[in-house]
Amino acid sequence: MSIISMSGVHKWFSTTVHALRGIDLEVATGEVVVIIGPSGSGKSTVLRCMNMLERPTTGTVTFDGMTLTDKGVDIDHARTEMGMVFQSFNLFPHLTVGQNVMLAQRKVRGRSKDEARNMAGQQLARVGIPEKIDAYPRQLSGGQQQRVAIARSLAMEPKMMLFDEPTSALDPEMIKEVLDVMLHLVTEGMTMVVVTHEMGFARAAADRVIFMDEGMIVEQGDPDELFDSPRNDRTKDFFDKIL
């Protein structure tokens, strides 16, 4: 069963910028999909069309039985089931780590303060930094901040997680700690769509790798197959450049 499916999705940012040119994509429950591709190929836009941070110009997106591209859909509700982690963490700087993780639980899930704090403690433990619950984001390293951002999403108990280059803003020595947390989620069976340049992660974690270029899905398949014997010339070109 696919949990999210996009069909015929086009995105125009203006009359000249055609960022997505017909995306058809289904992700099965429990599947881990990694999206790779050159800068500007539309990877972020695909993710952002999944949770409607960008509204597709045409095409449909359905998630968990809801058609997100319909006008009347409760998009806030859909988003509670779909966590998103950004390259730039986007923690709330005026709130402590604990408050960051508790905010949406309280406002959206309607949990009591105790319940929310309990859950925050659990999720922070899951990402390995339970002791930071009362710290402010600025007191944490980049890797720790990104792990808090992951915990913040997990606290909503989402059915799926979206990651947009979660390690690209990190110093090399912090990349591993974040990837480890993500690998841990994979073993727990979380459905994930990950945009990343970490090919090691893709090989280890992905059920499927998608290569995008110029707003289209050019090639997709099993990670080892795609990395070791790409069929499309553009895919080969891309690997030649980055490897």
Binding site: N51, L53, D76, H77, R79, T80, M82, G83, M84, F86, S88, N90, L91, F92, P93, H94, L103, A104, K107, V108, Y136, R138, A149, R152, S153, M156
Partner: protein, 276 residues
């Protein structure tokens, strides 16, 4: 271009202030300006309270202080309400609200303050009053003046509010929305608490500017201190005494207000200082 070697290599100017402190002697850093300003205020104060002709002017002007203060407070309250509405309108997703707010703001910014005050007091207020079941005569000149200042500064404050909201990174809104928070919830819990720290200093500036601009209301014959001073000059023929006292009164009021606002700002950003 045109910079001499000396200007380029004047090290005390290129170093950040903390390091500069070690290089410059104390008398170079000492706030002489504060001492001199203090001296001028003390001198004017001495005249105002201890020299009879000045003291007479003071006693004539004094009742106007209350008018100046009350008018400024009301006007600031209303301009904050207007400014908040128009400021949120400026960043609204609704194009109608966005354009209405923009029209208002650009209109205000396109006309000098004094003509605008006349326009509001003698065109807008008489036009709008009947809508609320009031006749033009029901509205005192004080309220016309307050309406004028409030509408003028509402436009400036709207821009401050807009700037404050837009100064918060776009990713904050996206993070909030991605967690399932509504637009309004994200605004309240995420954007505004961060924006407020950015808007306090410019709001304080507008408050002070408004106190000073309340003097323009003398042209609507409102009996605030500038108007009373003009009246006193007309009867006493003592412009020197009167305007020394008036100047003294304003600078003390402005300094007092700055001090209060500065305290308030510090109190508002307590314990979260630097949390960005």
């Amino acid at each position: 271009m045109g910079a001499t070697q000396h200007e380029v290599w004047n090290i005390s100017e290129i170093l950040p202030p903390e390091e500069r402190d070690d290089l410059d002697p104390w008398w170079d850093r000492f706030p002489w300006w504060a001492v001199m300003l203090g001296a001028v205020i003390v001198l004017f104060g001495y005249y105002t309270f201890f020299v009879e002709s000045y003291n007479n002017a003071w006693r004539f002007i004094k009742p106007g202080i209350k008018v100046t203060v009350v008018v400024t407070l009301w006007a600031f309250l209303f301009s904050m309400i207007i400014g908040l509405i128009a400021g949120f309108g400026r960043v609204s997703r609704n194009p109608l609200l966005r354009n209405l707010s923009r029209t208002y703001v650009e209109f205000i910014r396109g006309v000098p303050t004094l003509p605008l005050l006349f326009f509001i007091a003698f065109v807008i207020v008489p036009t709008v009053a009947p809508w609320f079941g009031l006749t033009n005569k029901n509205i005192s000149k004080e309220w016309r003046g307050i309406a004028g200042l409030a509408l003028v500064y509402g436009g400036y404050i709207a821009e401050v509010i807009r700037g404050g909201i837009q100064s918060v990174e776009h990713g904050q809104m996206e993070a909030g929305r991605s967690l399932g928070l509504s637009y309004g919830s994200t605004m309240r819990s995420v954007i505004l608490p961060q924006a407020i720290r950015n808007v306090l200093p410019p709001l304080a500036n507008d408050f002070i500017a408004m106190l000073k601009d309340s003097s323009l209301l003398s042209l609507l014959a409102i009996n605030e201190i500038t108007q009373l001073s003009k009246l006193y000059v007309n009867v006493s023929f003592q412009p020197r005494e009167t305007y020394v006292v008036l100047t003294f009164t304003y600078i003390v009021m402005v300094l007092a207000l700055s001090l209060v606002l500065h305290r308030f700002e510090r109190w508002m950003s307590r314990d979260r200082a630097g949390a960005r």
